[in-house]
């Protein structure tokens, strides 16, 4: 059930007794810029570290424990070009706890979002400083995760220098050094006043009760996001952008980005999903079978889609000395897709597997909630069920799409101690 609480403030409620818990997801969305991602990440951390009535994160944690181990967190994520600050809460249904849990959780969420711990118009300076330092430390730690770090470096090579997509949705260490308390407050005020708000509630709830309580939240009319602007595209690079970095690691990482101008919700979207599963997105893929199983060059060699920004990413962990061989094998697998050199068995396996994953994800409350949120923000709805959509994907579509893929960026973390 869908409601509009104010202009630019959308709600959907799905009552169900399937789960022992209920989930609330509140998203504030605005176009991402070079500067706002970092500030908003800090903001998300601050809001769950203290509020007017719960002055510390310990006070918040105690309240949550008392509400039968409820969970509340805030984080940032991107939906296409939109930057979202999300508040997520999961709590046990009344029949396993006590009456009135929904009301209590909505009140608590309201407190966290709308009653921050401000002192003289600024965030409590002590909390602000600790959270700024912790975020800085978290940025540093990213470099310890070589797979994640390499994927980030690849994105720097892929995106155009003038595109805000260069900036990770979590922000960067460099930006954080120039963020101050006043800017954080300004980002907060702007988020409340200007961001598109999307709320998803799934669980053992009565929609009317949810609507009645959310109508009390101080959310005025605001401008909705222009849906078409959320999809990102850029002109192709003539030659792939390459970067090689040396670190003293045991395992080298070779990552590649290919442009693939198909988007979530497009008529070719399902074919793109199947293509990815065949290429490297599943353990039935050409890359898994040939790079890992046949040639034992890698433990992981996989691909994944970026269906809101028109590209596909390949990640591998290999011995540095096998760089050329792995590059060649990846090229060969792509050529096989282009020429339809994959078996019917493989093709059907991948489709069945995707269907199984989709059906299985209906049992996962978090997955259901975030899919609903993304569809709501993007205004996407599929008319047919997944099984018939997958059935319509034929071999020719895979070949056509594979022919459109073009290598755009390469990042190689060279190691091999």
């Amino acid at each position: 059930m869908r409601y509009q609480l104010a202009k630019g403030v959308n709600l959907q409620v799905q009552p169900t007794q399937k789960f022992t818990v209920t989930k609330l997801l509140v998203s504030f969305a605005t176009p991402q810029t070079f500067t706002n991602a970092t500030t908003r990440n800090l903001l998300a951390n601050l809001l769950v570290s203290g509020s007017q009535h719960y002055p510390s994160q310990t006070a918040i944690a105690r309240r949550l424990a008392d509400m039968y181990g409820a969970d509340l967190n805030a984080y940032v994520a991107r939906i296409g070009t939109a930057h979202t600050v999300r508040f997520s809460s999961t709590f046990v249904n009344d029949r396993f706890s006590q009456p009135g849990m929904l009301g209590k959780q909505l009140d608590f969420m309201r407190e966290i979002i709308f009653q921050p711990r401000l002192v003289n118009g600024r965030f409590d300076p002590q909390i602000w400083r600790v959270q700024r330092d912790n975020l800085q430390a978290a940025y540093q730690s990213v470099k310890d995760d070589k797979q994640y770090y390499s994927a980030q470096q690849l994105m720097k090579e892929y995106y155009r220098d003038d595109s805000p997509m260069q900036m990770p949705s979590a922000g960067t260490s460099e930006r954080l050094t120039s963020v101050d308390n006043d800017q954080t407050v300004a980002a907060y005020r702007s988020m409340l006043a200007n961001d598109q708000v999307d709320i998803v509630v799934i669980g053992d709830v009565d929609p009317e009760t949810v609507v009645a309580q959310l109508k009390q939240w101080p959310l005025a009319d605001r401008q909705a996001l222009a849906i078409n602007s959320l999809y990102y595209s850029q002109p192709s690079w003539r030659e792939p952008h390459q970067k090689i970095e040396h670190q003293s690691v045991m395992q080298a990482k070779l990552d590649l980005a290919y442009s693939l101008p198909v988007y979530y919700g497009d008529s070719s979207y399902d074919a793109m999903v199947v293509l990815n599963s065949l290429f490297g997105g599943s353990a039935y893929s050409l890359m898994f079978n040939n790079i890992r199983e046949k040639e034992s060059l890698a433990y992981y060699a996989e691909s994944s889609l970026r269906p809101l920004s028109g590209h596909l990413v390949v990640e591998t962990g290999i011995n540095a000395s096998t760089y050329q061989r792995v590059r060649q094998l990846i090229d060969e697998q792509l050529a096989k897709l282009r020429h339809g050199m994959f078996s019917d068995t493989q093709f059907n396996q991948v489709k069945k597997n995707l269907l199984n994953q989709y059906r299985g994800s209906m049992d996962n409350l978090s997955a259901v909630a975030s899919r609903r949120l993304i569809n709501q923000v993007l205004g996407v709805s599929f008319k047919e069920d997944v099984a018939s959509r997958l059935a319509k994907v034929d071999r020719q579509k895979i070949m056509d799409l594979a022919s459109k893929m073009s290598l755009q960026a390469i990042f190689f973390l060279n190691g091999g101690r």
Binding site: V130, D133, A138, Y299, G360
Partner: protein, 431 residues
């Protein structure tokens, strides 16, 4: 076969032991998905056993994990593909004491189960297959070798159990897996993959009685007689324990120090139900002392000794249990000192925490109730035989009946000050 019901969760389950000794637990749920996990009590620490000729056989480190990778591969096909053709996802994992093979599916449950039982009970190992796997697992080992959090954990466990196979990584080393060949795998298989050492748990969308009958029939084609349990030489050579490695340091390409402190438990509980109660009591008392609701947490957080990377855990498997505390921090010494002090004063503090206890217990119960939405979690949580025939629903009942006195008793049993160790990873400074 017996049926149990848990009216408060509107839940029933069917369990039993087949003629050949295999344990079966079936948990019906109103979900799309079904999940099955077949577990042998054979993990990386089971490196020595007495074979049928009364000879002691010693396996290379990483053997259980290697066998797990190889069991999927057959002479003319890969079991993984059979699941794929039915639309199921399959996987496997190896821990210190168990190896589990699992699949999840929203269709063809019986056919998937037939494949699971078949590929686990019909081994095929070839020289060529072993050779190929050495490269893949070699890359897996290297990937973890570059991960500070993995090095921190395995280094700490090695400190806790310096004279036992636990000092070695579950996957072994590139050298140790070189020693693996089909004969080694077959000998390990014959000892540890007998039905008497297997347990099957299925959670999901099915009629449990009909499925049980089907399983009895299906399994009868493999074996109907009960063979003896495997004869491991010992779980741990040094159960009473005396020699821990006090501290170790490693230099890595990290941005700031990573530190882990650990405490090795030495309290032995023979009865499975009592063992579960002990585990739950220790877990809850650790939460009361260290989780983000505590004054301890807030104080250390505000002092910058810990941040959001702080975590603690308690692990209990066959033959061992220990707790760990870890954080990234620029004050590793202050970190371990602070944990030690909190443990030292734990008993007197717990005595004053009746109110907090009730809140923490409620929170723990709520989180466990929340986890009832995952067939994977429900099945995996008791996939081994360590706690007898309990399920997550029994765990909930036990958790609800715990008292503060139980926690205080468990504290005395668990915490021995001389059984701690620390491991730090320091940034490698450029020269």
């Amino acid at each position: 076969m017996k049926e149990k019901t848990y009216p408060e969760f509107n839940q029933r389950l069917v369990s039993g032991q087949l003629d050949n000794g295999m344990e079966v637990v079936l948990i019906p749920m109103a979900f799309q998905k079904s999940y099955a996990v077949l577990t042998t009590d054979f993990g990386s620490i089971d490196q020595s056993f007495t074979n049928s000729d009364q000879k002691v056989v010693t396996l290379p480190a990483g053997c259980a994990h290697f066998l797990e990778h190889k069991l999927f591969e057959k002479e003319d096909h890969d079991a993984f593909d059979l699941f794929g053709e039915l639309g199921a996802d399959s996987n496997a994992f190896t821990s210190y004491t168990q190896t589990s093979y699992q699949f999840s599916t929203t269709m063809n449950l019986h056919r998937c189960l037939a494949i699971l039982l078949d590929f686990v009970q019909k081994p095929y190992f070839s020289t060529q297959g072993v050779k190929k796997e050495q490269g893949i697992i070699g890359q897996e080992i290297r990937m973890y070798a570059d991960s500070p959090s993995s090095r921190l954990y395995t280094g700490t466990v090695a400190n806790l159990y310096p004279n036992d196979p636990m000092r070695e990584d579950i996957a072994g080393t590139e050298n140790s897996i070189e020693k693996i060949n089909p004969d080694v795998l077959y000998s390990a298989y014959q000892e540890f993959y007998r039905p008497s050492n297997l347990k099957l748990v299925v959670a999901g969308n099915f009629d449990p009685h009909a499925l049980y009958d089907w399983l009895v029939d299906q399994e009868s084609q493999y074996s109907t007689t009960k063979e003896p349990f495997p004869k491991r030489v010992a779980n741990l050579s040094d159960p009473a324990t005396s020699q821990l490695v006090d501290h170790q340091e490693l230099l890595m390409d990290v941005q700031r120090p990573h530190v882990m402190m650990a405490l090795r438990g030495s309290h032995h509980v023979a009865d499975p139900a009592e063992r579960l109660r002990y585990r739950l009591a220790v877990e809850l008392l650790l939460e009361m002392l260290f989780d983000d609701t505590t004054d301890n947490f807030l104080r250390l957080y505000d002092q910058g000794v810990i941040d959001d990377s702080f975590s603690f855990s308690f692990e209990m498997e066959r033959g061992f249990h220990f707790a760990t505390w870890s954080s990234e921090t620029n004050q590793p010494q202050e970190f371990t000192q602070a944990i030690r002090e909190i443990l030292m004063h734990a008993q007197e503090n717990l005595a004053r925490m009746q109110d907090q206890f009730e809140s923490m217990q409620r929170g723990a119960v709520g989180r466990l109730v929340a986890s009832l939405n995952s067939p994977e979690l429900i099945a995996n949580r008791y996939s081994s035989r360590l706690f007898g025939d309990v399920t997550i629903y029994d765990e909930l009942k036990q958790l609800q009946s715990l008292t503060l006195a139980d926690l205080r008793r468990a504290l005395d049993q668990f915490i021995k000050p001389n059984l701690t160790t620390t491991f730090t990873i320091m940034p490698r400074t450029e020269r």
